[in-house]
Structure formats: structure tokens, C-alpha cells
């Protein structure tokens, strides 16, 4: 059965040889399908946790304890894919709204790349995430999660224009509920990252 079912196992142990953790971040507005996408490709039921940090995110007062009002909490969820015995890929679903970006800078440094998940009924919610990723030079792809009740049926070309997305950024359709579709989004991203790496390595 291809579509994601709820029958994923709870957390299972990794192979004892596992040594390299890798990260990909899925970002998008509330309800766009981040958790659904993580679940459809993850080998474990998505887990969630949270980070507590100061609003500013940096320059924390050494004397300020966790109990002070200056701290704030951001929840995020994640899934996992064992790529082989040594390498394990973690997929993080994170809110893309402006007020959460201090979390990104701290937690998600060192990600391979990002997937911006877009709902065509609320495209403006993706603008900030795209700007921020470009600014940070984090490579990304944009995946349009097509909902059944989306009657607008914008073409990818129209969406690219609405998002002011440069030609070099891959833009694809997906159904976050379907495992093969989620898998193809990830392959698309890593293919893109591979092309970028090859181009960089060819340049003397």
C-alpha cells in the first residue's frame, strides 16, 4: 500500500554502526501538511519536542534561568530515515512564520537543505520562508501540496510567478499523504543539492 498509514512503529533503535546524523527541514505555514509529509516517509511515528530559548535567541544572560519570562518555547516534530547502517536522516517539520525564525538559526544550522511546503490557497504564507532561506543561502526546493478541495488549480508556472521563485529553484507538485510522493520530494531536493555540489567542486 502506497499511501501513508498510521501504522508506523514507535521509535525503534538505530543500527549500532550508525555514526552520521543528517538533517532536512520541512517548512511551511500551519496546516500545510508538514507533519503529514514527515509521517509519510519516516520509518518511525513522528515524535515531537520543543526548544526553550530567549526571544532574542543569542546573547543569553548567564544569570537568567529557564524560569524567567525572557524565555520562549517552540515545538517542532521530526521523523527519521535510516539511509544505510551508518547514515541516518532526520526530517524536521518546523513552522515557517516570521516569529519562529530565531529557532531556525540556532537549531537547524548544518541542514543539508530545506523543503518549502506550499498550500496554493495561502501562498503568501511561504514568502517569508523563501526570503529567509535565500538570505541564509540554504538550498531548497518548493513542493506544492495539492489539497483535494483546492479548486484554483494554479499551474506550476503561475505559482512560480506568485512566489517570485527564481528559475534555479526546483518547484514540484506533491501529495504529502503519499509515501512515494514524499520520497520523490526528498529525492528532488537531494538531486538539486548534488547538482550544486558538483558545480561547486568543478569550479577551481
Amino acid at each position: 500500500m502506497d499511501s501513508a498509514t498510521s501504522e508506523l512503529p514507535a521509535r525503534t533503535p538505530l543500527a549500532d554502526a550508525a555514526e552520521t546524523g543528517l538533517k532536512i527541514v520541512i517548512v511551511g505555514g500551519f496546516g500545510v501538511g508538514k507533519t503529514t509529509l514527515v509521517r509519510s516517509v519516516s520509518e518511525i511515528r513522528p515524535l515531537n519536542t520543543e526548544e526553550v530559548m530567549t526571544q532574542a535567541g543569542i546573547g543569553v544572560d548567564e544569570t537568567a534561568g529557564l524560569t524567567t519570562k525572557t524565555t520562549t518555547t517552540v515545538a517542532f516534530d521530526f521523523g527519521r530515515i535510516s539511509l544505510n547502517d551508518r547514515m541516518v536522516l532526520y526530517l524536521f517539520g518546523a513552522p515557517g512564520q516570521e516569529r519562529f525564525w530565531f529557532l531556525w538559526d540556532r537549531l537547524f544550522s548544518g541542514t543539508l537543505g530545506a523543503v518549502v511546503l506550499v498550500d496554493t490557497r495561502r501562498m503568501s504564507e511561504s514568502w517569508y520562508a523563501i526570503d529567509r532561506l535565500e538570505h541564509h543561502r540554504t538550498p531548497f526546493v518548493v513542493a506544492v501540496n495539492r489539497f483535494d478541495d483546492d479548486v484554483s488549480a494554479f499551474s506550476l508556472a503561475e505559482i512560480r510567478q506568485a512566489l517570485s521563485l527564481p528559475d534555479h529553484v526546483p518547484l514540484i507538485d506533491c501529495d504529502a499523504r503519499v509515501r512515494s510522493s514524499g520520497k520523490s520530494v526528498l529525492i528532488n531536493l537531494v538531486d538539486h543539492l548534488y547538482e550544486l555540489a558538483m558545480a561547486r567542486e568543478m569550479t577551481p
Binding site: 537568567a64 539511509l83 544505510n84 532526520y90 548544518g110 520520497k183 537531494v190 555540489a197
Partner: protein, 119 residues
Amino acid sequence: MTPRRPVDTGDPDRLYTVTGGRSRVDDDSFDLVTLIVSECEPTAGMQSEHVRILELCRHPTAVVEVSAELRLPVTVVRILLGDLLATGRITARHPRAARSAELPDSALLKEVLLGLRNL
């Protein structure tokens, strides 16, 4: 998915107790996907969170998984892991690229692609 217990807002005192009042750790020490491995069994009298970590990490376990399993914020888990690392009770397998601004090389990405295609 079970809804999260708001440990941070619900019971700040607990966090304070768990970490012995510390709120800061060298943030560069543990990435979210650093894999933790226990190097010993828990012993009597150990703080319960330390016991849980040593049990969990009999197999490699990412920092973020430890955080989810213990239902403690990542910041707090980093502090607890720091204790265990300092006393040699755990080892940490750090991600290759996490701390550098460098983008991953093509050889690594090729392995990732292969792994994804084989799913």
C-alpha cells in the same frame, strides 16, 4: 500523536531541578542529530534523567530523540548530556557538516540519494 505535555510552562521548577539550576550549556557541544551512545550502565543513586539517558542510548540515539523520549526541551537535554560526557558515561558521534558553514560534498549527497532511492 499524543499531545505534548507543556513541561516548560507547566512546571518550570522541574526544569530547574533537573539541571541543578543551570540554564546554559556550550551550545556547540551537541547538535540535534549528534548520536549519543552509552558507555556504561546506570548505577544506584544516579539522577533519574541520567539513568533514562543511559538506558535509551544503549543503541545510538540522536539528541533530539532523547529530548522527545524524556519530554524535556533540547536545551535541558544538552545540559544533562554534558554531565554524562564529562564523566565519560556517554560518547557522542557528531555530524560531519553540522558546525561548518560548508555545504555537503557530492560524495556524501550521492550516498544520501542512494539511500533514498532504495526506500
